[in-house]
Symmetry: C2
Subunit: 388 residues, 2 copies
DNA sequence: CCGAATTAGTCTAAGTTATGGACTAAATAT
DNA sequence: ATATTTAGTCCATAACTTAGACTAATTCGG
């Protein structure tokens, strides 16, 4: 249920409203903010004053808005004080990103580690060192890291920060959060979800799409009106196990003919006769060289993706579809088939078939989404930070 | 974005908070409300006073809560003043229901009309007469009908109230809302969505489920945390066109092997060699008589439903699955297969496979959901009604 | 070059709502 | 019969937002 609204909550909401508009518009004058929000000039001035004092917003300079009259003083979100950290454990690397409140990426750090060969305990130790060193660097440049999120390729219990199952890492029931000691509040979340959020805040721009994360598994994150759809238990978006053909190849989930058995990374590499060790780069080389098996594998994967996505479109009606992860570099070979398959299965029903686009972020999406989530939280409720 | 919060908005939200708790708990004392909401006793008293004055809430009587002390005066939502109307156009009938603010169904009216044989104009005329007569009856018993929603089996543009496409009625681009003259504000919405909402407010009780409406087409409404998920264009929940087998029978949507080609009403009847004219009753008779074709058709439909639902569960992660429409009476013959198919495809991945339940409402779900939506709106923002 | 017009931002008195604590009311326990 | 406990009201106060007066900084017209 909603909470009781007292004077302080009223103020908190208006503070968030103002900061949200400043963040969305880049820079605005107080007068414009009053116009936009419907709040009185006085109120806006006071709220902006508080935000400036807290270091969340800075005055950028005088700008003439209309033809005549006193020019306004524009303000924008300050990137000097508050920052957030995004962490990621993936199959073959650990990564950290620091993003400031204005959504500029301040620090990028990626560290190759074969996490399938390493015990969870060791991975966690390395990750903790990485996080601490990155935070030190951030603090040195005057930033205050107010929080962080850790992206993991698997299902996560958000409340406890426990990894329920991460098949690609070979992890089961690892209480990640309680094993990590960080000098900032940390949460753990699913990599596909965070990648979708990353795309939302740092990529495409539109606030309605289904973001597909092709990795060894295939995940998806659905963004509706700028918000992530999680489902009841938080496991929504398991596109990899949507049915493509019920009599198809057996899948590790127990079913048959899931999308993953057609379009997962390992399957693609195997079907293309590319070296598994070379990863996606090897496949790309084969494709460039015109390897028929590789081309056929992509064709098949694209068709399967189209079939699965047609089910997804019918069920959740996304605005557009963004292909990320390994599908981003493979887009030239699969984009066309996906679009055609989708159109063939949806064209009669819908006036508009969602367009299929490429992600602009590549592998960085999840870490950026992770850090972005903390930033978003500050912008959505700055009062929580001021009063803390 | 959120709106500016002024004193009146603060009051409006607290009013909604109090009324919401009263509605959710049946009857409560002011003291308990203060405890629950966190508002001061004084504030609760004033808010409840306003709600009583507006006729939205009434005092029911003195009740002893604790062991000692002055007994509290309980209040509950009043069903005496405010009511809403739910209307439905379906293939072979028109229906109207009047529901009061306490969610009691006050008037039920169903009128058989073969809407496939009747022009939209004539259908609308009959519906308007029905609506007016029902509202008259409601007014006679002291109710004030504050709004209504009309359920239609097809895709609807919510903003304009235009039926985009209703294949079972044979309608295309009918501007329903602008053709209807009603003495209350009216909206038009999709039947499957409203049926899900009906189940939410008048049926199962839990606030997280996927409600499947089996009719000639197969639709679904997803309820998450008590809210309907609509998707970007408002067309989410088209379960009928989720892929069961990509090489399956051709579907009117242009695709192949959609769920509808296995589990739609007409397909079921045809496969069971039941008379199409007799409708679902005919099929039920055949099943009771042990007709092998009919049993096999149900087996096949249940399997297909299970396959499609496994995709749905992977994508949207519903709390439970509720089977409504024709699947409610057919549940004894399909429920088992659906559950088994679902378990076989999901068991390895998830600890908990959503349970498959029957709808308690049958054909009434959509009209109740329609009226309920208006009631819900009043409870979510009573201030809008007070100030109007 | 100066005054009128225009727009931005601040200051102040007033309005609305919630609150805390004192108060009254109505019951049980001793 | 009195103390204790709980429900609900009353009233002075506090925390916001607001409207409108005011000051500041600019352009326009003569």
């Amino acid at each position: 249920m909603t909470q009781a609204v007292r004077h302080d909550a009223m103020r908190a909401r208006n503070l968030a409203l103002v900061l949200g508009e400043v963040s969305a518009r880049g820079s605005v004058t107080r007068a414009a903010l009053a116009e936009i929000t419907g709040l009185a000039k006085t109120t806006v001035s006071k709220l902006v004053g508080d935000l400036i004092e807290a270091g969340l917003v800075i005055e950028t300079g005088v700008v003439r808005v209309g033809e005549r009259g006193r020019p306004g003083m524009e303000v924008r979100v300050s990137g000097r004080r508050v920052a957030a950290i995004g962490l990621e454990i993936n199959v073959d690397y650990l990564a950290a990103r620091v993003v400031d409140l204005s959504r500029s990426v301040r620090i990028r750090r990626t560290q190759p580690v074969d996490n399938r060969m390493t015990s969870p305990g060791d991975v966690i130790a390395i990750l903790q060192d990485l996080a601490l060193s990155v935070v030190d660097e951030a603090v040195d440049s005057g930033l205050r890291v107010v929080g962080g999120v850790l992206a993991v390729p698997g299902t996560v219990d958000l409340a406890t920060g426990t990894v329920h199952s991460a098949p690609n890492l070979g992890w089961r029931d690892v209480p990640l959060l309680s094993l990590l000691r960080t000098p900032f509040p940390l949460r753990v979340d699913n990599e596909a979800n965070l990648a979708a959020l990353g795309e939302l805040w740092f990529g495409a721009g539109h606030p309605d799409f289904l973001h597909v994360s092709g990795e060894i598994g295939v995940g998806a994150g659905l963004i509706v009106r700028g918000e992530l759809f999680r489902g009841f238990h938080g496991f929504a978006g398991e596109l990899g196990h949507v049915v493509v053909s019920p009599g198809g190849p057996p899948c590790r989930c127990g079913g048959h003919g899931c999308l993953e058995t057609y379009a997962g990374q390992d399957v693609l590499l195997a079907a293309a006769n590319a070296e598994l060790g070379a990863g996606i780069a090897g496949l790309l080389a084969e494709l460039d060289a015109g390897n028929r098996d590789a081309l056929a594998a992509c064709e098949r994967a694209g068709w399967a993706l189209g079939v699965a996505l047609s089910s997804a479109v019918n069920l959740v009606d996304p605005g557009t579809i963004v292909l990320g992860g390994i599908y981003a570099p493979l887009f030239p070979w699969i984009g066309g088939v996906v679009t055609e398959t989708l159109a063939a299965r949806l064209g009669q029903m819908r006036e508009v078939v969602p367009s299929v686009e490429v992600s602009r972020l590549g592998t960085e999406a999840a870490t950026l989404g992770a850090a972005g989530q903390v930033i978003q939280q500050v912008i959505a409720d700055p009062a929580a930070l001021l009063n803390a």
